[in-house]
Symmetry: D2
Subunit: 153 residues, 4 copies
């Protein structure tokens, strides 16, 4: 029974998002799960929770990578939890664990995840967020997921 590594895609976003961002995050999570992709997030509230809910409700695998030491600190939609204990340095783990990243938000944490992901060569698709050269842009959740899957092949 040799296992085949599943594709993993990370979703970056703020803990205190707008309603539009939440909606997009949930749809992104659902679409990734329907495509058989494991969804990676920072494991807390807001965009992280919405993407996780979308994925979990579609039967997907959801990896929460937490800043704290308590694996029970993840939102309820995580199916597997990595409690790093390294604070905001877990943003590097969120960025690295995805074959690509999808950004939904304008927060400083999201910006750091974009920077770290690009620093280590991960493609990043921005659905909502900063307009910086070297990032891909998408207008809809469907476009973002299609592009992120393509870029992580």
């Amino acid at each position: 029974l040799p296992l085949v590594a599943r594709r993993q895609i990370s979703v970056f976003g703020a803990g205190v998002p707008t309603p539009r961002e939440l909606e997009l995050a949930e749809e992104v999570g659902r679409l990734l799960a329907e495509a058989g992709v494991t969804v990676v997030t920072g494991g807390l509230s807001g965009v992280m929770e919405a993407a996780s809910r979308g994925a979990a409700e579609a039967g997907g695998t959801v990896l929460a990578i937490l800043p704290g030491e308590d694996p029970h600190g993840a939102n309820r939609y995580a199916t597997v939890v990595a409690a790093t204990g390294t604070g905001h340095a877990r943003n590097l783990a969120v960025a690295a664990s995805g074959d690509a990243g999808i950004a939904i938000g304008h927060g400083w944490g999201t910006l750091s995840e974009i920077g770290l992901a690009r620093k280590i060569g991960r493609p990043v698709v921005v659905l909502v967020g900063p307009d910086i050269e070297g990032l891909h842009r998408a207008e809809t959740a469907e476009q973002a997921v299609r592009l992120a899957r393509l870029l992580s092949d």
Copy 2:
């Protein structure tokens, strides 16, 4: 569909183990998976791979927490991968992500995982390893798994 957080138990052990340690690790992985527990390891070779194989072949969920930045660097039995990018500091994440830890080996990495796990209050069961006050001991894989499950309730 509110999900219930699954129990997670970590297995600590060396990349270059003895045959006896490999055998124990594989059995520990299998027994944890059969009990519905997600197995957490450092994601590389040796004890980490043997425990992962035991769990994966029993249909379990296996979380590899890697030191490097490449999620494809895990052994083939990982079903979900956290690539921390933080080197040996990932030992803290391996220790923290389990509700308890099972140690199989005498290596320095294993010792650091035991120290970090106890520092943050995780119970540790030693199947093979140092004889230090404050650690639980088990003689068989079955005993280790039973004890670790009990201690992480």
Copy 3:
């Protein structure tokens, strides 16, 4: 002999900068040292080395916070070295160790340091870099140092 904690200010910037960025970095380092401020950098080449050289040649204290495990991997102008062993997660340490940050460059690593610094509430002065709301801007090295010192009081 109760010691008084010295002010520390971090300089963020790329390993492969432009000549103009190098010149600014060296001047920033010198001015910080002359003001009695300890200069914190990522400890490698480019902007990090230029700022360190400017500070060290002015007799200042220079803390290199390295991604690797080898304290001898810092540039030659570091007077004290923290070898974190945590890869790009050391960007968080560079950001946190300064009472304020000065950014000189457009790289992804610099962007991640800006994001992490702001996430934990550090003021950031941009001398060369992205134009994002919530960051302070300066036109000259002198202005940047004056502003960073003011903001970190």
Copy 4:
């Protein structure tokens, strides 16, 4: 002005030590500083503070590597502060930043620092602590400092 990297030696030890451990730590700090060695510690109380005090009062350089994000969280004897923000993962940085380590204590954090230091090849001298193969032992502060300096050449 090409600088010569100064020797750095780390002191591992508990936040809540015995009086004997405090005395040894202060003497170790003093002797290291008198030998021109920069003292590296975890930056908090107990053994960390005593070693720092010994070194600072002898006019030495003392690097505090903190778990938290606040550089002002170090004990008052630190002359330079790295605030890692990575919790107990800073133990890796404490271990890596010294050319050798001196352990004074039986705590779990100390044990993890010993394990991490040995994992990355640093020699460790135990003044007070576990009796494990692969570690050097010393009976007095003077012996520990002499041995650690010799081993880090």
